[in-house]
């Protein structure tokens, strides 16, 4: 088997593996559908990445980098973007949690006041 074919096979299996893991997590309700879709798309891109190899080679020649360097750079940028997106999600959740905690506390206080009034 040629190197290119081996590469293509590894990428295909890798992509399918990612897909299988994500589906398993989604079925166990550990991943919301939103993130499942995102990761399935990434898995799909990995699986067919072999077809994009010539494009990567051209980019490498343009930027004076080896194809491997190009791929590493692209992967790093992708992982960075995912990290930032998750940071944004977490920040949003923190704000919503804070609002809910405040509402909960004020509600409990109102209940206490009503109960006091009932007793006197």
């Amino acid at each position: 088997m040629s190197t290119a074919a081996k590469q293509a096979l590894v990428l295909l299996v890798g992509g399918l593996l990612i897909g299988a893991v994500i589906l398993r997590l989604a079925r166990k309700r550990l991943l919301s559908t939103r993130y499942a879709i995102g990761w399935l798309v990434i898995g799909g891109m990995v699986a067919v990445a072999a077809a994009l190899m010539p494009f990567v080679g051209r980019l490498g020649r343009l930027a004076n980098m080896t194809p491997t360097a190009v791929l590493l750079t692209m992967s790093s940028v992708l992982l960075l973007a995912i990290s930032v997106q998750l940071s944004i999600s977490v920040s949003l959740l923190q704000e919503r949690l804070r609002t809910t905690a405040e509402a909960h506390a004020l509600l409990a206080r109102r209940l206490d006041e009503l109960e006091q009034r009932g007793r006197v």
Partner: protein, 243 residues
């Protein structure tokens, strides 16, 4: 008191201060108890709703229609209602048709009945793309073999026990989860799902919370849900003991 003591009309509302008063008046005039679930509105929706005589639950954060509805289902279940009628806060649903929904529940022994917008006398207009998406979703449900629903994204529907308790326990909060996905999963789990044609009006004011982009995205997720079978938990319909 209302003429239908075991029926609760649930109206999820997000920034609907222009329409909510009129909707509540119409529902109460039709003789129903009314609960408005304020989905973290930034305007006076909750206050206006209370002033018009509806019971109001104020969510501290915005959960989306599904989240607001599940809150309504939990309220209904806790207070002993056996049937919930979902009515939109934008005035598109006509309160006089609620009786038709309830009659269909009884006559056809249904757990969930949907008021379909595709009726002859409807003045309701829908963009071509939207109509196409709805047709696609309808085809998917029909293809699953469990139910024949031409308008699975309609929010005008009635739900009763035992499906009401099941939804109170778990119900999707994402866009189209509360309409299309809920219908599909309920049908798959053995609940009796049906549909009747009703006329609807155009939105009476305010702004819709979903747009074309959201619709396309949710079509994608609907496909994913079908392919992967990842969806919300719903217990299989328990056998009903005839009384």
């Amino acid at each position: 008191m209302s003429g239908h003591p075991s029926v609760l009309v649930v109206i999820p509302a997000f920034n609907e201060r222009d329409c909510i008063g009129g909707v509540i008046d119409e529902v109460r005039a039709a003789g129903f108890d009314c609960l408005v679930v304020d989905d973290g509105s930034r305007d006076e929706t909750a206050d206006i709703a209370a002033a018009h005589g509806a019971a109001v639950v104020r969510l501290p954060i915005n959960l989306g229609v599904g989240g607001a509805l599940r809150t309504g289902f939990r309220y209904a279940h806790f207070h002993g209602f056996t049937t919930v009628v979902q009515v939109d806060a934008d005035g598109q649903h006509v309160a006089e048709h609620i009786d038709e929904l309830l009659t269909a529940l009884d006559d056809r022994d249904l757990d969930l009945v949907i008021g379909s917008r595709f009726a002859a006398d409807s003045t309701y207009r829908m963009t071509y793309v939207r109509r196409l998406c709805v047709r696609l979703l309808s085809f998917v449900i029909r293809h699953s073999g469990k139910a024949d629903i031409s308008d699975p994204t309609s929010g005008f529907r009635a739900i009763r026990s035992p499906l009401l308790e099941a939804f109170a326990a778990d119900f999707p909060a994402h866009y189209l989860g509360d309409t299309f996905e809920a219908v599909l999963v309920a049908a798959r789990r053995g609940y009796h799902v049906g549909e009747i044609p009703v006329g609807m009006r155009d939105r009476q004011g305010g702004r819709p919370s979903a747009d074309l982009h959201a619709l396309v995205v949710s079509m994608l997720r609907a496909c994913t849900v079908l392919l992967t079978g990842t969806t919300f938990d719903l217990p299989v319909r328990p056998p009903q003991v005839p009384t």
